[in-house]
Symmetry: C2
Subunit: 162 residues, 2 copies
């Protein structure tokens, strides 16, 4: 179309934020992988490894049911994006399912949003159902299965303090 | 260590460029996936789908042997990174192997480099062997298997004109 480029946006985009925040990677041994990434990037120190558990305010749900899933996490900040390492620690989750069925590898890409509820509804109506939801005291996340042809898992993150 | 942060870099980083250029996604039906991504991002037009074949200057090699692998490609430019869709069209390749063993999903992350040869040598000596190499008239690519704990495939891209 004359004067239009592929970068021009329609008003019905499912995601308005085009800044990819994270690439999430499933690993089976986060201590080993955190060391490998530290060496690869040439960072001075291995990042802190934290354990993600459920939160009373945002309890973990996987495929609509409560889950006691836990995971170890480590983060590496690159110039334009953050790499998140995730070692599943059991319990039903998209992390554990990915490791069990596909093995180690890249699990998701993540975007920040405002108004998670409307995204859950809109994504669901467009063939991108939410498969896991949880959070922490000041924020929440949702994982969505790109069953409509996106062919990957998308994570949406909402930080209540921003 | 006093005064040091995790962002400070050692001199022996395996990758000096910390700008992630691409996330590469393996799909089985690129026409369907390109339409899904166009709708997801709210772009006006579905991007051109191109066919990547070998080049006389940079013939495709997979695991050290010549390959006649081909793939259909489509690109989506986000604010900070590009999404690359890849539909393998047969021939031995990391694309076809991924689709056959893991199914659709995120295949690699990519970085631009200068001096591919030294990266191939240095990555290989550090447990990140090259599994596929090829290119085009004015550039080349290599895919590297993060067997050392990175747990994913890294693509390095070199553009001779930059």
């Amino acid at each position: 179309m004359l004067g239009l480029t592929v970068e021009q946006k329609r008003s019905d985009a499912l995601i308005s934020n085009k800044q990819m925040m994270q690439v999430g990677i499933i690993v089976s041994d986060i201590e080993k992988s955190a060391e490998a990434w530290t060496n690869f990037l040439g960072n001075e120190e291995i990042p802190e490894i934290i354990v993600a558990t459920g939160d009373d305010k945002n309890p973990t749900e996987f495929k609509g049911k409560p889950s006691d899933a836990k995971a170890k996490l480590a983060f590496f900040r690159l110039d334009n994006i953050t790499i998140e390492l995730i070692e599943p620690l059991g319990g039903e989750s998209t992390w554990q399912e990915f490791l069990d069925t596909k093995g180690e590898g890249i699990h998701h890409i993540a975007f920040n949003v405002e108004g998670m509820e409307s995204y859950i509804k809109n994504f669901g109506e467009n063939g991108i159902p939410m498969i896991q939801h949880g959070g922490w005291e000041t924020g929440e996340y949702g994982y969505f299965e790109g069953s409509n042809g996106l062919t990957l898992i998308i994570e949406l993150l909402e930080n209540y303090n921003q």
